[in-house]
């Protein structure tokens, strides 16, 4: 397809990325601000919001980074003041474990059940009818394929 083009796009974008290198600090501020919710907005992060409180929070993140604080420490700083509510993605502990694990668990269990069931069924088939598909059946399959 347009793999070559895609690669060209991406290389072009990469070069433009180099020009951003000098703004490492700002990028770190954004990265952290993206993980905090804007207290006055709805589904937005502090990064995306220009509300007064969000601007203050961004400034505070910058100051804390300059003090040499790590990302975890900064998130901890805000959590202490606002509660876990301020984090846009809940921590993997307590009741939130239920949130993080259940979807994966469900997909795993269903696929396992499905595989077991299908396996059993395809084995049953072998027991019942071991002869190769008849010509009529093959024709049917071909027709089916064509209709798709």
């Amino acid at each position: 397809m347009n793999t070559r083009k895609l690669v060209l796009f991406l290389i072009g974008i990469g070069f433009s990325g180099l020009l951003f290198g000098s703004e490492d600090m700002e990028n770190r501020v954004r990265e952290i601000a993206h993980k905090l919710r804007c207290p006055t907005c709805q589904a937005m992060s502090v990064k995306e919001s220009d509300a007064g409180l969000s601007l203050n929070m961004k400034q505070r993140i910058r100051e804390l980074l300059e003090e040499g604080k790590s990302e975890d420490e900064i998130l901890q700083f805000f959590e202490e003041r606002y509660g876990e509510w301020i984090l846009r993605s809940p921590k993997k502990e307590g009741i939130s474990l239920l949130l993080w694990t259940l979807p994966g668990l469900i997909i795993l269990v269903t696929i396992l059940i499905l595989i077991k069931y299908l396996w059993k069924k395809s084995r049953d088939t072998v027991g019942i009818d071991t002869s190769p598909l008849s010509k009529a059946e093959l024709r049917q399959i071909e027709n089916d394929l064509k209709q798709l």
Partner: protein
């Protein structure tokens, strides 16, 4: 006067819907053709009456009749005429009326269209549709009457929310409603056949196009909404996993699962209970979406739509669930599939996996959306569950979905030659792995991007190969049949034939394009800075030069903005003017972004502030590949047309046969 006629029309429609239900029930009981005919005609009358009510509301908007409370709240004299017309669905009450209008139109279509077929289940189906109508009309004449009056009438209205004064927002809600409401047709057919106890595959075949139609408009509606958020909200993104967005995504996910699993029932007569479950889930989720939008139970940017209608929708949802699941349980013995054998690697099993993936996706979205309530109820903890959570948890499932999408096309029903499969995917696989490895080593983006992008490219190759192969097969079969077809005939043939297969392939290509667009977000760059007139600043490959502050009027807003020259390699590419718009009816200015689109990336500038010293503060975003998302619409439209052109074999008119079949 006109308004009163409109209200009277809604009242009459309500009475007629009740009448239709009673008459249908009586007709079924006495097996009376005439009673059922009467109910069929009353659905046309309901359409006319609801149409009158809708026109009356539009009339009130166009004439600035502020004695109508809904008009006063959502319009003003200075609103441009076009937006006055569309402001009808700018608030909840009017949207409900639009919803009911679409439902009435679809119901009338069903009542007329299927007069010769589906005789047995049509009355039951119409009962279901009229019950839904009855509920909506009940809301419209009571709690959320869009034509309610207020005296004294204010001289000026509150104005339409400026966020809604955008072409994307104008068509986003009607498109979503078309999708939601169209799903109620297969739902009604499903429930109708359950009620009647006639559970062959007929309802699936008859509603195939309705399902496609619903899926198409839901998809388009969501893309329009995303596009609206992108240009209007000014934070550089298009999807924020807001509860309301999730509300529209959930029925889309189960609807997509349904769209696939009905094929298994049609071809292999399997999954018959499952399809019932899926369509019930899809319809219920579309109601749930409305509940989330309108009740204000969960945080949402769409909170302007808050109202006290939540309990009504919740009650309606519970009624639907109890009724349809109860019915399904009662009829389950009629639905057992004769077990059809198939090998492990076969198309039907791939479809099963596809269904699991979609349903788990839907579950995850639902779970994440309501989990804050669960956490508060169980652990008394206030949590926020927003984009970072959803992105993390959905990425692996989405990757699985894209892989499946590509491979399923290569599988056969019942059995597949694994050798052939391996041969067919080997080269595309390598061609996808190599560029992704290059991307990985140059940019080292997160693994999700590598896998999602890689699988999208991989699936893209497979789809294109399939498309070529299907054309090739046609030419070969023509040759075999010794058909001599001239070039034009051949071209035409290859264009119009095999609509279903082509439609599916093309729509899947749209999904590939969209996935690539989503992957582009991993390369987004953003920056914010302040500069004065004449100064310039380089951002990415561009140099931005602040030309001057400008002020102009557009529509009913006063715009103050900064004209920014976009320069690349010394050449002026464009002048972008991000502005702050001051609407007379809104105290806060709106931020209108300016975007320079190109295939590779968007340069997106939003004006954060105009400072007192004449400088401006800009938020600048560079969003690579984002236009692939909007471009996917083209694939969806073409694929949709192809898919609609196909008619199931079982429904085609047989030459010389006596049965008249006017389905679809």
């Amino acid at each position: 006067m006109v308004v009163d006629i409109g209200y009277f029309a809604m009242l009459s429609a309500f009475v007629l819907a009740a009448y239709a239900i009673i008459v249908l029930a009586a007709g079924i009981r006495r097996d009376s053709y005439n009673l059922i005919l009467s109910a069929r005609y009353s659905s046309i009358a309901i359409l006319v009456l609801v149409g009158v009510a809708y026109l009356a509301l539009s009339y009130a908007f166009l004439n600035d009749d502020f004695s109508v409370r809904f008009v006063a709240r959502n319009s003003s004299t200075d609103l441009p005429g076009f937006y006055k017309f569309t402001a009808v669905w700018g608030g909840m009450h009017g949207s409900l009326l639009l919803w009911e209008l679409i439902l009435a139109f679809f119901t009338a279509t069903v009542a007329l269209r299927y007069r010769k077929t589906n005789q047995e289940i049509l009355p039951h189906t119409l009962i279901v549709l009229n019950l839904i109508s009855l509920f909506l009309l009940f809301l419209l004449i009571g709690w959320s009457n869009p034509l309610a009056r207020q005296y004294p009438a204010p001289l000026e209205g509150n104005g339409l929310n400026p966020l809604l004064q955008n072409p994307g927002m104008v068509f986003h809600p009607p498109s979503l409603y078309l999708g939601y409401v169209a799903f109620s047709i297969p739902f009604a057919f499903a429930i109708g056949s359950l009620m009647r106890g006639k559970l062959d595959n007929r309802w699936i075949l008859s509603t195939r196009r309705w399902t496609l139609f619903a899926w198409f408009f839901l998809t388009i509606g969501m893309i329009l909404g995303a596009q609206w958020a992108y240009v209007e909200l000014g934070w550089g993104g298009y999807w924020s996993w807001d509860p309301v967005e999730n509300g529209s995504l959930m029925p889309w996910l189960t609807g997509t699962a349904f769209l696939h699993s009905v094929i298994v029932q049609e071809k292999r007569n399997r999954l018959r209970i499952w399809n019932m479950v899926l369509i019930i889930a899809t319809y219920t989720l579309s109601i749930l979406g409305t509940f989330i939008t309108r009740s204000g139970v969960l945080n949402s940017v769409h909170s302007f739509a808050k109202s006290n209608i939540g309990p009504a929708f919740l009650a309606f949802m519970v009624v639907i669930l109890v009724f349809s699941l109860g019915l399904l349980f009662y009829r389950q013995s009629l639905l057992s599939s004769r077990t059809q054998t198939a090998e492990m690697v076969s198309k039907e099993n791939a479809f099963l996996l596809n269904n699991i993936v979609f349903v788990v996706m839907c579950f995850t979205v639902l779970y994440g959306t309501v989990f804050p309530l669960l956490a508060e109820g169980l652990a008394n903890k206030k949590l926020s569950i927003q984009a970072p959570f959803f992105n993390t948890i959905m990425a692996p499932i989405a990757i699985l979905m894209v892989v499946l999408m590509g491979i399923t096309h290569l599988l056969g029903w019942k059995k597949t030659s694994l050798k052939l499969l391996a041969r067919n995917i080997a080269i595309p696989f390598i061609l996808a792995v190599v560029p992704m490895a290059v991307v990985h080593f140059i940019f080292s983006p997160p693994w999700q991007m590598i896998l999602l992008g890689g699988t999208a490219v991989f699936a893209g190759y497979l789809l294109i190969l399939e498309l070529i192969r299907s054309r090739h097969a046609r030419v070969v079969s023509d040759k075999k049949a010794n058909k001599t077809v001239n070039f034009r005939g051949r071209l035409l043939n290859s264009l119009v034939s095999d609509g279903r297969r082509k439609g599916g392939l093309i729509i899947h290509m749209g999904i590939v394009a969209m996935t690539i667009g989503v992957c582009g977000a991993f390369f987004n760059q953003e920056t914010a800075f302040t500069f004065g007139p004449g100064q310039s600043k380089s951002v990415g490959r561009y140099e931005l030069k602040f030309k001057e502050l400008t002020e102009f009027n557009r529509n009913n807003a006063r715009n103050v903005g900064a004209a920014i020259k976009v320069i690349r390699n010394g050449e002026v590419l464009d002048i972008l003017t991000p502005v702050k718009s001051y609407y007379p009816t809104s105290p806060q200015p709106m931020t209108e972004v300016a975007i320079r689109h190109s295939v590779i990336e968007d340069l997106y500038i939003s004006l954060a502030a105009i400072n007192k010293d004449g400088t401006v503060t800009l938020n600048v975003y560079i969003n690579p590949l984002v236009n692939f998302i909007w471009a996917s619409v083209i694939f969806f439209i073409i694929g949709f047309v192809y898919s609609m052109s196909y008619k199931p074999v079982q429904l085609r008119k047989k030459r010389g046969s006596l049965t008249i079949d006017d389905d679809e």
